[in-house]
Amino acid sequence: MSRLNQIEDWQQYQDPNNVSVDRVNRSKRIIREVPIEEDGSNYNNNFNSSVYQPEVYKLLLRDFSNNYCYAYEYNDPLRFIRESREETFTPLKIKLGGRLRVKPGAKVINGVIYLDNSFCQYLGLIDQDKELTDNLNTGIVQRYIEILTEGLTS
């Protein structure tokens, strides 16, 4: 998803009464755009931009030795994210800072892990990580908007 669209998603959680209303997005509340085909008769399903954007989660992981790496969702949708019913009050389905066990054999390309359900196990938020998880999740909406906005202009 483009940064512009992500910013809009996050802005809905920041001030739902002040988001742009001229397009459709994933929000059930707001209908913001009704694309009309050139002949004026049909809607298509690609509401968000001129390109099709499948959603793939990209995770930033840190191991016990403080090494960082990226991991992408690969092939099958990661259930621990997509099926989570946790209320986060953000566009994310889970809170940040949870532990994830990556199993041996997970695909790695150029130092990036490609995850599917069979090669990982989500352990959730752990009490002893409370300081970290509080840090990561407090003020996350504003922080994300700032990060995404900065990414747009850099």
Partner: protein
């Protein structure tokens, strides 16, 4: 027995009189030169051989307003939320004509349009009649339910009267009162504030309306989106194959990503394989659906995009055609025909037309498809359809286009879907999947009568076989950039208003016209497309209201008006009362008014800044 019938417009009174009297009626003038009284005999159920007088109003008879002590300049605008409201007769001569004609009548029969507004006008007619004859009571009123002027339909309406829907009357009255109080208070506040800083001229008015501002808000939001757009790079993989001198592109099933690292890694995996395999070759029948039955909003959208006609002009032309009996009532939300609908008679009436008569004849002689059923039903009117035939050469320019469009849409609804053969080849390269499609249109069906829709055969695929191994000579990682959205078109604005509950099928066009006439927006043509662009004043108003810190509401977004529309529906269904909704909405808007009033200096200053920045 004397029955007084009153229609919503003079043309309807005339047409209904012709039908009920069989052409045998006398015409008397009234004090108003447009309003005639038609006298004739008609036998209603259980009331044979009645003396009938048919007359009409010309839209609303009565308006609501504030008493003289609350007029502009006589009180602070905030008082208008709780000021008394009085009724004012708008057209005294028409009001008096009904009172006079009611004097010798035993019964009142309402022939206004069958929608909420028509129900309310029916109640206004009752007030005029009751003034002349206290014997006429609201519970005894006959209300005809009709949606077009075809003879049998009108006779059925006359023979099956129902009661006036007082819940719908309450809903309209509630909406009128909220619009008056909110509109007048904010308009006065805003106008005085903007005048004090010379943002508008002395004689100008900066109006606020609960639909007007959200309508403007859509346009401003889009303008800002275009203005603030930043292109973003994305990446994808594409494979071009050639077989038997036929080239084709295979598109990556994962689409595009805004992440170069991800695409590069997957591309690198693909490059480990010199060959790919056609793992699936599917040929399937595909259909292109005929259009749904026509609603007002669809009519306005299509007329805007096909004929570049404004929503107001499209509805205006359709109303003229309805008043002359050529089309059904053009204000409808219904997109499915009732099971009992008589399609064949309508085909029969269109058979002689040189342009589409052959299609009508085909449907008449050889049978037709039942139209698709949409999900909307206002329970008042069927979808817009042709009623009587007219040669379009006899019509004015806009009416000609609208009539032809409605007829063709109706015929298209009753034709078969268009059919094609879609071939999809799936290529597996490494573990990545790519597809290529080819379409052959085999049966045009409804497309033949409906030139407004295009569906054409595409380039055909090479003759692949499932299991073919193909050498990948041209599999590349490509990039692109997002392109800016377009400014708002009227068709899109209508859709947004409709979906977000701003206005009704009947009033959407008026709200758009209002923001044009107030110079909040202008229409600008770019190539063949006309866009709606906010003026600096329009930008300034929306941006400055968005800066106000209201308590969980917005005056420029559609949410509050949508809440009101939902509440009005609840009044109509008897789920809540007019009084409850009035109090709720007044409270919300009163709070917003109070905040705006306290911050008026900031609001006006910010408005001025935005205007200067955008001028």
């Amino acid at each position: 027995m004397k029955i007084l019938c009153v229609a919503e417009k003079p043309s309807i009174a005339k047409e209904v009189s012709k039908i009920l009297s069989g052409g045998r009626f006398q015409v008397r003038n009234s004090q108003n030169k447009y309003i005639k009284n038609y006298d004739f005999k008609f036998s209603f159920p259980n009331q044979a051989n009645c003396d009938v007088t048919m007359t009409s109003v010309a839209g609303h008879l009565i308006n609501i307003d504030f008493p003289p002590s609350f007029q502009w300049g006589k009180c602070v605008p905030g008082k208008l939320f709780d000021a008394a409201v009085i009724e004012k007769v708008l057209k005294q001569d028409i009001f008096d004509n009904i009172s006079k004609e009611a004097r010798n009548s035993n019964k009142l029969m309402i022939w206004t349009d069958c929608d909420r507004e028509g129900e309310y006008i029916g109640y206004e007619i009752f007030k005029a009649a009751n003034k002349g004859n206290r014997q006429i009571e609201v519970g005894d009123i006959w209300r005809s339910k009709f949606s077009h002027l075809e003879r049998n339909h009108v006779l059925r309406a006359a023979n099956n009267p129902i009661k006036l829907d007082l819940k719908a009357v309450d809903a309209v009255s509630c909406r009128m009162e909220i619009d008056l109080r909110v509109g007048a208070s904010f308009t006065r506040l805003l106008t005085e504030g903007l005048k004090s800083k010379s943002i508008i001229d002395k004689g100008d008015v900066a109006s606020y309306g609960t639909c007007q501002f959200p309508t403007l808000g859509f346009v401003v939001d889009r303008y800002k989106r275009v203005k603030n757009f930043t292109p973003e790079q994305f990446w994808y993989i594409q494979v071009d194959l050639e077989k038997d001198d036929v080239k084709c592109n295979f598109n990556w099933t994962r689409g595009h990503f805004f992440d170069r690292l991800h695409v590069m890694n997957l591309y690198q995996e693909c490059l480990k394989h010199k060959e790919g395999k056609i793992i699936k070759l599917e040929q399937r029948r595909t259909t292109n659906w005929r259009p749904l039955p026509l609603t007002t909003v669809e009519l306005q959208k299509d007329c805007s995009s096909i004929f570049k006609m404004s929503a107001k002009d499209a509805l205006g032309a359709a109303e003229k055609l309805y008043n002359r009996g050529f089309l059904s009532y053009p204000r409808t939300e219904t997109d499915k025909f009732p099971a009992s609908f008589d399609f064949k008679t309508i085909f029969g009436r269109q058979k002689s037309d040189p342009r589409w008569g052959n299609h009508a004849t085909e449907l008449f002689d050889n049978g037709y498809e039942n139209p698709r059923a949409g999900k909307h039903d206002d329970n008042a009117h069927p979808p817009i359809h042709p009623v009587n035939y007219v040669n379009i050469n006899e019509l004015a320019a806009d009416e000609k286009k609208v009539y032809e469009y409605v007829v063709r849409r109706f015929l298209a609804c009753c034709c078969k879907d268009a059919v094609g053969q879609q071939t999809t080849a799936t290529l597996k390269w490494g573990i990545e999947l790519f597809t290529a499609n080819g379409l052959m249109v085999t049966e045009r069906n409804y497309l033949d009568v409906y030139p407004y829709k295009k569906w054409e055969s595409s380039k055909q695929l090479p003759k692949f076989q499932q299991g073919d191994m193909v050498s990948i000579k041209n599999g590349v990682m490509k990039d692109g950039k997002t392109s800016p959205p377009n400014h708002m078109t009227e068709a899109e604005l209508i859709s947004l208003m409709d979906i977000n509950g701003i206005g009704t099928d009947a009033t959407i066009a008026e709200h758009i016209e209002k923001i044009v006439s107030r110079s909040y927006v202008v229409k600008q043509k770019k190539g063949k497309v006309e866009y709606i662009i906010p003026t600096p004043l329009g930008m300034g108003l929306i941006e400055s209201f968005d800066k106000m810190h209201f308590d969980n509401i917005s005056l420029s977004k559609p949410f509050l008006r949508k809440k009101l529309e939902l509440s009005l529906d609840q009044i109509s269904k008897g789920e809540t009362t007019k009084e409850t909704v009035l109090e709720d909405m007044k409270m919300l808007y009163r709070q917003a008014y109070s905040i705006s009033n306290q911050n008026m200096v900031n609001l006006v200053d910010h408005c001025k800044t935005v205007i200067q920045a955008n001028s």
